[in-house]
Symmetry: none
Amino acid sequence: MPSTAPHSHPQAVALTDGQARRSRRKSARPGELLAAALDLFVEKGFAATRVEEVAARAGVSKGTLFLYFPSKEDLFKAVVRENISGRFVEWNEEFDRFEGSTHDMLRYCLFNWWERLGTTKASGIPKLMMSEAQNFPELASFYQHEVIQPGNTLIQRILKRGVARGEFRPMDFTYGAYLVLAPMLFLALWKHSLGTCCGDHAQLDPQKYLAAQLDMLLHGFGVQTPLMTTPTEHTPT
Amino acid sequence: MPSTAPHSHPQAVALTDGQARRSRRKSARPGELLAAALDLFVEKGFAATRVEEVAARAGVSKGTLFLYFPSKEDLFKAVVRENISGRFVEWNEEFDRFEGSTHDMLRYCLFNWWERLGTTKASGIPKLMMSEAQNFPELASFYQHEVIQPGNTLIQRILKRGVARGEFRPMDFTYGAYLVLAPMLFLALWKHSLGTCCGDHAQLDPQKYLAAQLDMLLHGFGVQTPLMTTPTEHTPT
Amino acid sequence: MPSTAPHSHPQAVALTDGQARRSRRKSARPGELLAAALDLFVEKGFAATRVEEVAARAGVSKGTLFLYFPSKEDLFKAVVRENISGRFVEWNEEFDRFEGSTHDMLRYCLFNWWERLGTTKASGIPKLMMSEAQNFPELASFYQHEVIQPGNTLIQRILKRGVARGEFRPMDFTYGAYLVLAPMLFLALWKHSLGTCCGDHAQLDPQKYLAAQLDMLLHGFGVQTPLMTTPTEHTPT
Amino acid sequence: MPSTAPHSHPQAVALTDGQARRSRRKSARPGELLAAALDLFVEKGFAATRVEEVAARAGVSKGTLFLYFPSKEDLFKAVVRENISGRFVEWNEEFDRFEGSTHDMLRYCLFNWWERLGTTKASGIPKLMMSEAQNFPELASFYQHEVIQPGNTLIQRILKRGVARGEFRPMDFTYGAYLVLAPMLFLALWKHSLGTCCGDHAQLDPQKYLAAQLDMLLHGFGVQTPLMTTPTEHTPT
DNA sequence: CATGAATGAGTGTTCATTCAT
DNA sequence: CATGAATGAACACTCATTCAT
């Protein structure tokens, strides 16, 4: 095999700064692979997604994928970690700046959450986590700490604000937060499971569902003097 | 408990007369298979469960399983019918017989549902469906028709009763039913995903969660004149 | 197990005359099974026929079939042996009685063969033999001796008669007979293979095919003074 | 014999320059697989041949087979195309170039067919099809379209040429073609069924059989003025 | 670095055969 | 005699992973 290694650059380009700008140098392979994998994992689930398909969608060969991720499971872990970074800092800041009623804040929270996350690919991650939590306990724990807890805390801040301002009744905030989260997660889960297969009756209009959810959160089903919650400028597009 | 109970344990049958009525004895195979299948489906998911394993756990051979269930999907459907959809008749009858307030009825519904299903293996089925729906559209459709629809209808009957009796405010019943279902499903989903792996903070006390859920369903978070819902004897353990 | 063997006739009915009237005594099981098996073997082939189906068509259980035939292969052997008994005696007698021209005799032979065998289930046996000959060499040999050879001999008698009477040219009778047999077998084979599946173009009209065959046998394709073979009263329905 | 011959034996390739033109070298896998498949299909039938066995005989793993042929049926079709249907182009060209009498052409056709196909493993394919046609309608249809039809058409071209040149009598070409095909198929069928098991009397000398066939095709059995078919140099061994 | 040919363990389903009753 | 429940070997096809080039 004389002169059979054309164009080989064996002495690898010695990255000086470990992480910072890894997104452009050399090849953007890992990023493209992660994007492709997110798409497919969300679309078809972990088990049903073939690595070859991920590689194809990222425009590389199957072998290349295994160059970057030692196994399909590692790819999955990377995908989840990549996509659930800290949006909570930003959201907590929004909370701090908010000046309207807590009713409005809750409304804003729900619709805005759906708009920013629910309508994107990222909305598939909760379903992914739910499905694979048992198989990836360490990831589940990671998700619990990095997503569920902060989310719960943020919601609790809202609820506490409402109680503090006399807008909400006193409550157990831990469980109250879950009551707000549950329908949101349910909506995302539904969208990526039953909602995709049973065309007719299984359709849920997110806007209507969230509106109903909000109404119930604030007033319950019980008969009472209806509240005059006037929609404010915070109502999302 | 006459000897016709579907889940009759085999060793309990104790046939006194050897042959005469061999037309009913048959074998407890189907029941054992259904139990084994429920265990494994919930534990590992539909796709990841091997029929051979189900058969082995039921103490029969792979061939025997296919004697009773023509396919893996049929086995799954039988499991769902045995544990969920087959019970709607009974639940609707309970609804018809119920005489208390609709508040009580909703309370009874929630706690009773958790007691009868939530605490059993069957509570894993919703998670199962969420996970596998995309990859098994046939099963998803089946579940939609045999579980989601009837469940939704049953909840709607309760809500309509409440409205008719002046206990609940008018509402969009379709979405109202989802609002009741969502937290129940969330509880079941949680138990079988995040709840199993992240021991500490991820624990949700079902009773407290359901109580919070009920309170919110009836009154919302908003500040209002407290309702006089008198807890009745129907409240389960 | 007291008195558990009802109606048992253990001391088997001791057939005095081995074979003669085995068709009525006791049960007609074996005969019905053989008939059912012939139907199904011809229709679907040996491998694709399930013993359960044979038993069902004969109105007995699968277990009963194995009571009479130790294995599926044995059943096959019995079917072939049962159905290719000596029709040749009768046909040779017909030959002896025949008084017309040998042209007419050949015509009569072809059309009559098709009518009496080709249109019945028995026409499927050649195909069966062809398909399974390798797997049942002893049967193939049996078939060779009991069917092929006598058939060949009978055809040769016709050809020799034709030559002796100056109607046919001299020829190698062994191969001549095969030339007559080949299209007949071909017709039967076709009917039970390609003819059954490819509806349109694969259809062969037996009457036209046999007529063409006869014409060619007598005259060939070559240009010659056409013979005045006037169809006689022997032309079949 | 340039290196593009489809059946090129692997050890013969002897790459001189390691990499440069690696785009053509590929591997001899498909050819080896087709050869192994032909052997086994002919030997044991389509249904009874296990793909793993084909792969093993070709010296590759089961997975590799499916790398080249998406399914067992596709493998079969490839075998048929490689050995039969792919050659009709060549045969039609031979027809176009032929300049002798149509008698000679028919002779050439028969003997050449036997030499090129009859003496090879490929001669087992017709029997294969006859046996499996009912159980694999897709294959039957394929064979009908890719083999039967073109073969029939080719024969018809010969017959029509004979009639056009005044060598053959007018006839129904469809059935005429079958009359030519039938004995050829019979010969191939015989070789692979009865011919294999009943050593002694079941032997058919192909040369003599074909000669008899040809003689009969041209002249029939009837007494007539002998034709002056001068055997030409085209007569094969 | 990148490729893609090769692998082989794994799985749902069928069906001839057995045997306790 | 007759049954039918039970068996388990067999088989086509998939896909994550490896590795020579």
